[in-house]
Amino acid sequence: MVKERKYVKVLCISLCLAFLYFPLIVMAFFSFNSAKSLSNFKGFSLRWYESLFGNLQLLDAVVVSVSIAILATVISTILGTMTAIALTKSKKVIRTTILQVNNLPIMNPEIVTAISLMIFFSVINIDKGYMTMLLAHIAFCTPYVITNVYPKVKQLDPNLADAAMDLGATPFQTLMKVILPQIKPGIVAGALLAFTMSFDDFVISYFVSGNGVENISIVIYNMSKRMNPSIYALSTIVLIVILLVLLIGTFIPYLIVKKKGASINEASS
């Protein structure tokens, strides 16, 4: 009876994972197809990867996506962290108002945020392009950084900052040596979220960019009418990069912890 239940469990979870990974596997598999078919595997080839690297439009889009994601992540992480730290010290009225307005871009349907920014840029007469896309990305990433960092700052023992200044550290030194190291997990989580949000964004980018500035999502959207296995190749590369980052990200801290643990054991024994 218990064993049966276990089989049912394994079966269900496997089916669910199969559903989630089926399209990804299909995508990766057919990116190596020698024919231009997404259902009929004719033989192994790298022709779609070659055509991907010959496709300037796609490559440009990769550059736009990556550069915007990096810039938006850096700026929104700095802005958000700064604000989160300041908020814990502000008056309650200011704090609650800002936190509530900050929630607006998170709760608002993406499409509403997108068109609100589109109207805004056209009213103040900025040409839609790289700059507007970057501004919009910072605008929707920063709230997520704040929601990740703010609780960490709030949990912080306020005496730690006092202690640092008591020992002679200036406010800036206190920030760098005591506060930031303490809230690092929140900052890293916020930055990662900001990066993936920015990198994956379609709706907002679609409405606020123009003049030929396109990110990966927009290019895929415009190509979706026609079949193009180059997109499969690109997706496969993205998938592999994510898996690599994940592997490095999971195993390196694990190794460090293991090493540290070993040295601690040595020290105590």
């Binding site: 604000t83 895929i220 997109i231």
Partner: protein, 297 residues
Amino acid sequence: MKQYKKLVSPYCFWLFVLTIVPMLLIAFYAFTAKGTEITTFRFTLDNFFRFIDPIFLSVLMRSFVLGILTTVICLLIGYPIAYMISKCQERTQTLLILLITIPTWINLLMRTYAWMSILSNNGLINHALQALGFAKMHMMYTDFSVVIGMVYNFLPFMILPIHTSLTNMDKSLTEASMDLGASRVQTFFKITFRLSLSGVLTGVTMVFLPAISAFVIPKMLGGGQYSLIGNFIEQQFITVGNWHFGSAVSLVLAVIVIALMALIYKAEKRTNMSNEDEEGGSRRNGKRKKIRKSTLH
């Protein structure tokens, strides 16, 4: 630490310019119409009266039906999966949760694009059906393909919060319930499910709200003429060029979504509070205080 107080002003300015002003602009467009001269706008409620238009009402209706359908399917698949995962060993759980999260990191359009070719008339499924001797099925550009795309995209967001609420639960509660004579099934419905409600609520929010305002998935998997609110708004702005009506629809959508969110947040807070009470968090603290007092005097 009060030295850091000033750091809040840049973001104050930023929020005002890039969040509040754009939202006010939507409201402004929603309540106005173009005047006779190009620069004059006049106040009007006409944009909202246009909602009675049967075409718009059917779009609205379809958005909600599809949103509810997606949410229900995600819940029916997601809850059991989350429950089964929470019954695994801890290390397996971490791995499974990671496996469920990874697909969400891949560009939504890439994933949806993959579904397009799987479901298309010459796609993988029909290819397989033919090979097995069945007739081809028409799946692309139907409700079916849109729902598949939505469920596929949103399912992880249902599983994750439910799993969190299930693992955060004090294990001794279910043991206590069975100790007091409740069967496995009774324990599940009276204790486990009841205490995981906050996770369910979060999951429902994270699926339903993006689902009713979805834009890309219905566009790619539903085809050009397939229209949900999101697509309707896009048409008003891009093809029709009626920013006033488009803004009115956006405003109403935003109000509905934010109001629902606030309601759910309130409900969640309530269930969380009662959960804490049942877990004895607050009561235990009170007791501890009492004990400390009595030892002092």
